[in-house]
Symmetry: C2
Subunit: 313 residues, 2 copies
């Protein structure tokens, strides 16, 4: 058996896993994210060597190291352009690691890595092409076309959360207005939930959060809707509308076999995808016989970062 | 020298060309579009044979026949799903033509064919990847990635005119609201021009169309803006804003080397692309060092249909 190393770089911790040829993580460890890029890289070298030692895997059994990074990267030249949550800017990550490991080393954006994992070993493994939204603080985007990762020119595309949904909408972190991200991220859903609560003091959602609006999260509206609360249902319906319209734009361009929803909100599972599917099937462009896209939720959860990074090799 | 046959199917006429290995049309003819698919196919067979005869090209010198169709097609199975302007529905075009020609025969959507022509032999031939809007009655879309045509799953994607620009916008022909097409097609620009004229009886645009608002076309606002008319300039500025915002959504997903504008409005050339470029460079996502996309106008004009169809072979 041969192995690849998958590295999942996050703002809180950096996770390393040894992944076998079947996409199974045979061992992993985790280290708190250090303050500087140099410290992180030093830690990462130790972390990888330690994990190999502890599991009696020799470096000669390893095909390479893949790394998923939360931000803008230039895979072709191995450069990390900018990781907002870690403060990294223009870090030559591949070059630095090559000093320690005589292996193939590749980097990609973390949302690209996640869709690759789902396409190879997760919910979309039977499909030829799939797109993915990671519905979190922002909206990450990933694309797999003909079984291969597609991340746009120079690996700098794939920003699926930054197509317009409403030209006159609220300002987006990217500088434009009304991007998909401002409507369908967990952050947006929380805001939509809070706004609805402030307008309805009788909704069950107040009880659900113990009267503290700061306790609202991505589940609040969904769980209260399931209990029959009308205001919560209205929030969910509106969110499904935003999400479905966002997805439809991509279906018209890509007609993927599957559209994957990841991130915390995707834990709603069928409850969410049934609604989105119904909306999309009603509205999909391309005349009555347009190919159907399966709307599904991610399956690999937090492991997608390590598995997908290993898939880069 | 070997040749390919390129066929450009249109609502008014069907054009056939013999295209050499350098993308040059060495001869072409044109026949009025017949009323039924069967008549069109019979005409097309005669049209191809006649063109070959007249130019002393033997069928043995021909690699194949490529056909661009104005509507939904399924390239993998050679099926024309629906051509609204010709009334074709579920026509097995490739199978029918195979009865007459023992050659490779391929079909694609006409907007896909146009971008392929520009990528191989036109304005984008130096680029690796490009997207294209054909700004006409509607908005056609085409994508070339890594020098190859990409038209989405089952060849049924590529509807770049049908991503949302304003969720609350006007109804689109596709059944949704506020698609890019409802803002940046020639039809949309004409409507925007007329609306501005109705609100300003003193604009030069009235003189430009001889007082007859039905004479407004895609040039009216542009030409009067060049003459310094303020209302016309406001129409152009708004149109540039809509077009640029539409393009930006695609840049964030694809980061193509070039974005091509085709169709009548693209005849404005640099006057249009300079404005769109300035807007996009100001707003493009991806941090300060995002790769730049060149905004250009199509170069092959009406020949793109025949040349691009031949490129399918």
């Amino acid at each position: 058996m041969r192995y690849s190393i998958g590295v999942d770089v996050g703002g809180m911790s950096i996770k390393v896993g040894i992944v076998d040829e079947n996409g199974v993580i045979i061992a992993q460890n985790r280290v708190k994210t250090a303050k500087t890029a140099t410290q992180c890289i030093n830690n990462l070298v130790d972390q990888i060597n330690q994990l190999l030692d502890e599991n009696n895997v020799s470096i000669s059994e390893v095909n390479g190291i893949g790394i998923g990074c939360p931000g803008a990267v230039s895979p072709e030249i191995g450069l990390v352009n900018f990781l907002p949550n870690l403060g990294w800017e223009n870090v030559e990550l591949v070059k630095e690691l090559k000093k320690y490991f005589n292996l193939e080393i590749k980097i990609a954006n973390d949302a690209s890595v996640a869709v690759l994992a789902e396409a190879r070993y997760g919910v979309a493994r039977e499909y030829n092409s799939c797109l993915m939204f990671t519905l979190g603080t922002g909206v990450g985007g990933g694309m797999v076309i003909d079984k291969k990762l597609y991340d746009g020119g120079y690996g700098r595309g794939g920003e699926l959360g930054h197509i317009t949904l409403d030209l006159n909408g609220e300002p987006c972190t990217c500088g434009r207005r009304g991007c998909v991200e401002t409507y369908v991220s967990a952050t947006a859903l929380i805001k939509q939930t809070k706004n609805a609560m402030l307008l309805d003091k009788t909704t069950k959602m107040w009880d659900f959060v113990g009267g503290d609006i700061e306790k609202v999260d991505g589940r609040t509206a969904f769980e209260c809707s399931k209990m029959g609360d009308k205001t919560a249902t209205a929030v969910v319906d509106k969110y499904v509308y935003y999400l479905s319209e966002s997805i439809l734009s991509f279906l018209n361009v890509f007609r993927p076999d599957a559209f994957i929803l990841g991130g915390g909100i995707s834990l709603q599972g069928d409850y969410l995808t049934d609604k989105v599917t119904a909306y999309c099937e009603k509205s999909s462009y391309g005349y009555k016989d347009a190919p159907k896209t399966k709307i599904v939720t991610a399956k690999l959860g937090n492991d997608a970062g390590i598995i997908g990074a290993a898939c880069l090799i």
